[in-house]
Amino acid sequence: MSAVAVHSLWTTAAGPITKIDSPKIEYGQLSPTLIVVGAAIVGVLVEAFVPRKSRYYAQLFVSVVALCAAFAAVVVLAADGYGTTKAHIAAMGAVAVDGPALFLQGTILLAALVGLFTFAERKLDPQAHGNHVDSFAAQAASVPGSDSEKAAVRAGFTTTEVFPLLLFAVTGMLIFPAANDLLTLFVALEVFSLPLYLLCALARRKRLMSQEAAVKYFLLGAFASAFTLFGIALLYGYAGSVSYATISQVVDGTLTTVDPALADTMGNDALLLIGTALIVMGLLFKVGAVPFHMWTPDVYQGAPTPVTGFMAAATKVAAFGALLRILYVVLPGLRWDWRPVMWGVAIITMLGGAIVAITQTDIKRLLAYSSIAHAGFILAGVIATNPDGVSSVLFYLAAYSFVTIGAFAVVTLVRDAGGEATHLSKWAGLGRRSPLVAAVFAVFLLAFAGIPLTSGFAGKFAVFKAAAEGGAGPLVVVGVISSAIAAFFYIRVIVLMFFSEPRPEGPTVAVPSPLTMTAIGVGVAVTLVLGVAPQYFLHLAGQAGVFVR
């Protein structure tokens, strides 16, 4: 018996050795995300190696360049037709490169850039011990009120880590609406959530409130993430895959090749329904929809105002993007099940946000409830389940982001001895002391209220029109009623600013550096341009309104 023959008992002759297929990654198409994550890592290195004095400028430079470069990359991709004809799924089925993804990534990047300017503002507070002071704690680790905190302030420490944290958050947000399988979705969710939890805790003033906000956000956010993860597991059990395409095929019953090992559990509707409910719940949490909105007012109030503005704008964009993709790509076959539920959620979100906002006395909490009401309006567009629904939501998100960041940027300007004067009563008579600032804020409020000739009206009209075309007429009626309720409290703030007597010891308006001025200026410009001549952007959103699957 030859050696070969003996071997053949327990081996077979192998074919020629083939290479293990390396995953095919389309680096060019993922470049927006890669640029931002790369810059975030550079930011960490800057934090480690650059002298303390030059860190601020180095970080600011890196962040601005990265966000601009990433936005340029998005524009190049869109111009190449990746948003329309060349839309496809990249990175081995993990990330979609299509119209909605590119549109939302562009929006997130611009919002982040404008938000970054408010992060970098250092002229609002008077200099402490000869050092510039920004909105963030001198040293996050020091206990509020302790000697170590005082020492840190005296030494002029600043938390320049906020820049890389912002970039990491943006990384997650860029992937979130583009994620094309459930695991990528979850990873992206965590990547953008964790930096945000941290950022919320970093306020320089009212540190205990800020830390409380961060803990609340973290705990509730962790719950939401856990729900999402559980839902992902159940959906995997249902479809035998985490890929959006496969799940949707199983939902539609068009899957041809079934893995025999999974055949027993596959197609179990209980898994599908519970899994869907849990995932959507997690997303609605991020969106801030009633009844998953409880964190919003506390976190918005406690977080440093620049963070609140950024978070309110960019998180909403990313989360609605992901929600749209799940509902429109994965679960269109299930729409008869999720639409009624989403109807209910949209109605209570619109009404709940608007009604509770009336009783608020703090401007940041007021804007938080207003953001809840707006989430409801956007949900009305999501429910439309037609192409107009997608494009109207995209447009609304873009319009809303800039109004929000601008409004919170104005909030950072109104200050008294204790920092930002967020109690509404302190805003009385602001219009007489600082007509320009009050007028700018009034423009933002009118945009929130959806008054014609502002972007808020164009957005609201777009989503309501889509909803009406999608057969959700009653939702539109509820929408206009809650708009009317919401208008009441926006107007109340305008009344306070313009028609009330100023208080003798009222707050002053700080003169900001060009950074915040840019942020506010961009906000006003976008608000008015999208209000008066929205056609170009509506068209853009219309073109971008098709998901790849």
């Binding site: 494009s391 777009a462 309501f464 029109k465 208008a487 009344v495 056609q535 219309g542």
Partner: protein
């Protein structure tokens, strides 16, 4: 492409608003003159529109049409028919008088007062309102109309809440509270109306696929666009609700007395004589043309509401102790007449209603502005604080009387013609309604004459004994208005000629003809 005359009538005051607002705070007199010049320029353009308009020509003239928001199916479409021309002219005519009458209304108060009154803002806001009102008269695209219909609330809101009379019976604190209450009430009522209309506007788009008034009206007329009866009725109600708030029609009227009472007299005139006209105008243009069947369906209820407005407004006017609120309730009564004329669905009724809009603008402006001059002299709005003014200030009293007589529709003054037409037009189709409405005239005589008697006649009250008569500027405001009231009262043909063909068109849109025997419209 020809010169876009209609756009120019709106753009000019808009530019004026921006230019006025940009004048530095110290140069407030320059700002006033600038604003006045822009309003006069707008008047010149409006006259050009009047001249270029051919009453017997096409349905909509001087049309402009440009792409605007294609994704919403919205075009920038302007065009005027006779009704719109008359109202554009009225608006452009009244604004210079309003500015002139309010010349010192926004001057900074004597030092020590905490009131804050940016002069430039006052004039800029009035011009801004003018631009938006004119555009909403000219828009033939429903969406375009809606935008300005809603947007004009914001400058109006600031005008009401930001500027009040120089002095107030209950002190500055109370005045400030009442002003902002009135402003918020104004805004919320109109905003709610507007938002409900928004739902209907979206509904219209879903049904019709575009917003062009002409296309939709045409499609409705030739039957290519069929609306289910219920859909049409809901959409009609959505539109009508907004217009009825704006007009205002009982029971949606309660914001008007507050707003007119707290605003300065020129702003009150702006509200009732200019802005509110958009409501009644829109009933004629949009409700009747877009939803003819639903309009006919709703007619009985609307007529009853209109008659209630007439009687209720007049009764409350009789009971008022505050001059400005009295005029406000009188206006509610008059808007009842206008709406009754529109929905009587006769050509006399609708011609009368359109003439009424113009004449009511002139007569209220005359009465209210003179009342404003009176109030500014004494610093009180209460009727009881006056007495015997005619002995001290005979010209003021005389013009006040003419304004008052115009308000009660004395023959020989312009409002008589329109009120008569409205009543005749209503009577031929709905005799009972017409008879009840006639009571409104009697009550009008009561509240106007009692007002005159209590303030102007009788013994001279010590507080008014030193009251100066009308100044040059004030005469310049009142004189032309009085002349116009008399001229149009004796010879209404020029206005009627412009209006009548358009009314015929509207009547044919709703497939209504005058009941037999035909009563010839007074010419």
């Amino acid at each position: 492409m020809s010169f876009p005359l209609l756009t120019a009538t709106a753009v000019l005051p808009a530019i004026g608003a921006i230019a006025t607002a940009a004048v530095p705070a110290a140069r407030r007199d320059a700002a006033k003159v600038l604003a006045l010049l822009f309003s006069l320029g707008t008047l010149a353009l409006a006259i050009a529109v009047l001249v270029r308009f051919d009453p017997d020509g096409g349905r909509y003239q001087l049309t402009e049409s440009h792409a605007w928001i294609a994704d919403f199916g919205v075009r920038y479409e302007l065009g005027v028919d006779g009704i719109a021309v008359a109202l554009v002219a009225l608006t452009a005519l009244l604004i210079p008088f309003i500015l002139l009458a309010g010349w010192h209304d926004a001057d900074p108060l004597e030092t020590g007062s905490k009131r804050w009154r940016p002069t430039q803002g006052f004039f800029a806001l009035i011009l801004g309102v003018e631009a938006m009102v004119i555009l909403s008269f000219e828009a033939t695209d429903v969406f375009l109309f809606y935008i300005f219909f809603e947007a004009m609330l914001i400058p109006m809101y600031f005008l009401i809440g930001g500027f009040g009379d120089r002095a107030h019976a209950h002190g500055e604190q109370v005045a400030s509270t009442q002003r902002s209450y009135a402003a918020v009430k104004f805004l919320l009522y109109n905003l709610v109306g507007g938002l409900i209309m928004l739902a209907a506007v979206i509904g219209l788009y879903v049904v019709a696929g575009n917003f062009s008034l002409q296309e939709i009206a045409q499609a409705r007329a030739n039957g290519s666009l069929d609306m289910a009866t219920n859909t049409e009725r809901w959409l009609f109600l959505g539109f009508f609700f907004a217009f009825a708030v704006k007009a205002p029609l009982w029971p949606l009227h309660t914001w008007l007395p507050n707003a007119m009472g707290e605003a300065t007299a020129p702003v009150a005139v702006l509200i009732t004589a200019v802005v509110d006209k958009v409501g009644t105008f829109a009933m004629l243009r949009f409700c009747l043309q877009l939803f003819p069947e639903a309009s006919k369906w709703a007619t009985p209820v609307i007529l009853v509401l209109a008659v209630i407005s007439i009687i209720y407004g007049a009764l409350l006017a009789v009971g008022q102790r505050d001059i400005k609120r009295l005029v406000a309730y009188a206006s509610i009564s008059h808007f009842g007449f206008i709406i009754m004329g529109i929905f009587a669905m006769t050509s006399q009724g609708q011609s009368g209603a359109t003439l009424y809009m113009v004449n009511h603008g002139l007569s209220t402006a005359a009465l209210m502005l003179v009342a404003g001059f009176l109030i500014s002299r004494r610093g009180s709005r209460l009727i009881a604080d006056y007495g015997g003014v005619q002995k001290v200030a005979p010209v003021l009293a005389g013009t006040f009387l003419i304004g008052g007589l115009a308000t009660l529709s004395l023959p020989g003054l312009a409002p008589f013609v329109s009120e008569f037409l409205v009543l005749v037009g209503t009577f031929t189709r709905y005799p009972a309604i017409g008879i009840v409405a006639t009571l409104g005239i009697v009550l009008a005589a009561l509240y106007t004459l009692v007002l005159y008697q209590r303030t102007m006649t009788g013994p001279v009250k010590p507080e008014v004994s030193a009251m100066p008569d009308l100044r040059m500027r004030e005469l310049l405001v009142v004189g032309p208005l009085v002349v116009l009231l008399i001229v149009l009262g004796v010879y209404p043909k020029p206005v009627a000629d412009i209006v009548n063909p358009a009314v015929k068109q509207t009547m044919s849109d709703v497939h209504k003809s005058d009941p037999k025997p035909e009563v010839e419209a007074a010419k």
